[in-house]
Symmetry: C2
Amino acid sequence: MNRSSDSSLTGIRGCLIDCLEDPFLISDYRAVRWFLDGLLVIQSGKILACGNYEQLIESYPGLKITHYPDRIITPGLIDTHVHFPQTAIVASYGKQLLEWLELYTFPEERKFQDFEYAAGVAEIFLDELLRNGTTTAMVWTTVFPESTEALFQAAQRRNLRLIAGKIMMDRNAPDYLLDTAETAYRQSRSLIEQWHDRDRLSYALTPRFAPTSTPEQLQITQQLQSEFPSVYLQTHLSENLGELAWVKELFPDDRDYLAVYERFGLVHDRSVFAHGIHLSESEFARLASAGATLAFCPTSNLFLGSGLFKLHEAKAPERPIAVGLATDIGGGTSFSLLQTASEAYKVSQLQNQTLSAVQMLFLLTLGGARSLSLDHAIGNFEPGKEADFVVWNCRSTPIMDFRNRAEIQTWEDLNDRLFSLLMMGDDRSVDCVYILGDRVSLPQVATAPDKAFG
Amino acid sequence: MNRSSDSSLTGIRGCLIDCLEDPFLISDYRAVRWFLDGLLVIQSGKILACGNYEQLIESYPGLKITHYPDRIITPGLIDTHVHFPQTAIVASYGKQLLEWLELYTFPEERKFQDFEYAAGVAEIFLDELLRNGTTTAMVWTTVFPESTEALFQAAQRRNLRLIAGKIMMDRNAPDYLLDTAETAYRQSRSLIEQWHDRDRLSYALTPRFAPTSTPEQLQITQQLQSEFPSVYLQTHLSENLGELAWVKELFPDDRDYLAVYERFGLVHDRSVFAHGIHLSESEFARLASAGATLAFCPTSNLFLGSGLFKLHEAKAPERPIAVGLATDIGGGTSFSLLQTASEAYKVSQLQNQTLSAVQMLFLLTLGGARSLSLDHAIGNFEPGKEADFVVWNCRSTPIMDFRNRAEIQTWEDLNDRLFSLLMMGDDRSVDCVYILGDRVSLPQVATAPDKAFG
């Protein structure tokens, strides 16, 4: 078959790696696919073919190709839990969850009732996602629909696949941040009608967490869910022991934290729960049987001292829960999902469990896509999927350059290189990012005027 | 007093911050000193004066000044435990301590019997320290005296203050890495005579850890210590549970791990023990009373799954042990002591203890100097100390730039800025480094040819 005459096709040549299956259920080697010299063929923003360069190019003579030698190309990374209005408060000092919200988060979120302010931060936030190789995210805005609107507009202009929602919060927070059951219903509904399934955007119902919503508000969340069955639900679950005690106090009749959400029909296969540090075996099992998913936020869990997520329990083969990785900016300390994976590795090591490079790649790509029910569209290089991908440089710092000078010649080499990228890489490791087959242009990074080196 | 005519004086103007006391024993506010607009006066590589610019400049009219506006200047950072021959194996996958040594460390260390190889890595290693703002380190070489020689020569050419020693290891490692009690004695002695107290260099007796030295070798270590009382002793202690069990097996008559070293007179005020994760209360107390110190290596302790160092127990006011921070390259994952401090913060948060920015600065500077008995020479800006310092840019990445745009006007601003530097900074945050009052030139960092941004 010769499709060379089609000028709408473009090719990307380089070392390709993606996951086809879940390496928590089968071996790394069987879950992963790689081509040391691979070719992606792209048509109209989607993957048309993926394979070995020498073999595939025969079918596409004359294909216009961009070649990335000495690079690794993966599907775009997926951040399954991130708060865009907390971009400015990353690394705020010294508190655990509940105090941290009071002291830093709430005052900053207040500013987002101003559409212009929100729109400005939305651009910085999306720049930052892309600069770090994150092409899809499930995003929290604030209680103000203006902030949700601002984010959706900015993401739409960039053709990003993104899920977001307005926070619902009608108690136990400063007055200036509260909505009501009624306004939450009206505003959420209006945003859903305007943005859900528009271009690559989706809406998520977003009650902050059980303590900040009245039963009435959780009730209207359920009502919206039944009126719009395809919208997502995102909330927080079992992050911090102080939070658990508070939930117990506010909802004494529910047997555990998850039961509060279950009572309102909010635990289903489009629900994404952030954290889940202190879940019981029963809660794990009920999440699994509902098809609900967890967002593992290691930099945040460590920074706020929340605890160690039990990844291998969540992914236990007898009832695997879909898990994605997440930066949880601004409780998290980095926009880099590489650095997030590095912390996930450390959290696993502390529990005497090893996390392989392929398992981390899976969590960041296909696993993240599955946990957001987006694996029909993104997550790997299967034909028909959207061509969001990242070109990585594993020699982006002097120490990585020293470690990674040898050419990649075998699977073992590639596996080691990928591991080093996950452990040592940062935003500098991103050579470039493609969205729907188009290379993204981002603002140049300012460099320090006095810099003697670097 | 007017000292303006002295052309040997130079000035550095900018925001200065250093520690004068230990903030684990008194409040941050009393332990720290800062000048939002400060001046360092330097003469012959040493600090002559440190103070408020407006006040101090009157005594030095005509002083040749380099001004660093919008920067923070701290004493040079101190890495109290790092293995230079492991530079190439950072981020090696998936093992805990004992297997990791077998699989990755020992084969790499073997290469260092070649002086040329060792000399090449020594340059890369020292570049990397300086690029990260580390001006002093206590360094491990290998069992081969060639590697120690190579490192000392390289450090001497750069005028660095550095402590290092040849590993002593005469059992339980591959044959190609073993010395004997006798060769260890002879080679160590020769290196001491050649390098100890030469320029800014000092020697450390370096038995790898109890399991890899015979009692005979520990005995000759004691003998060397008594022949050269001012040399240091560095070793590993209580890092990993498998290691603890092994020590118990090899030394059944010693009541605990520390007791092995005590029996051979190796626990004293020039001893630096790396890790100390699993120490008992008795071991903490005995370390304190001996004046021995601990090197806290958080990125390594997490990466190898060793456990959580009990910093606040070690620093308990009733018997504070001097503690320094350490990268422990290559068990550690970063040469950056900022990233190391960030992980130390997270380790503390997981134990429900907060680590302040000033406490972290102390551990990295004056605390590190005290733990290496070098506080007469380095660690802060007191007159007479050596002028090793770092000019930091707290806006070195887009996200840091966004967070830290406001001018520093108060102590609270500076404290917050310092915290963000410690949490989010990396090698890019180092504007420049001064050694003995001279600005260091380092090789330019290669940038990726295909980079679309950054």
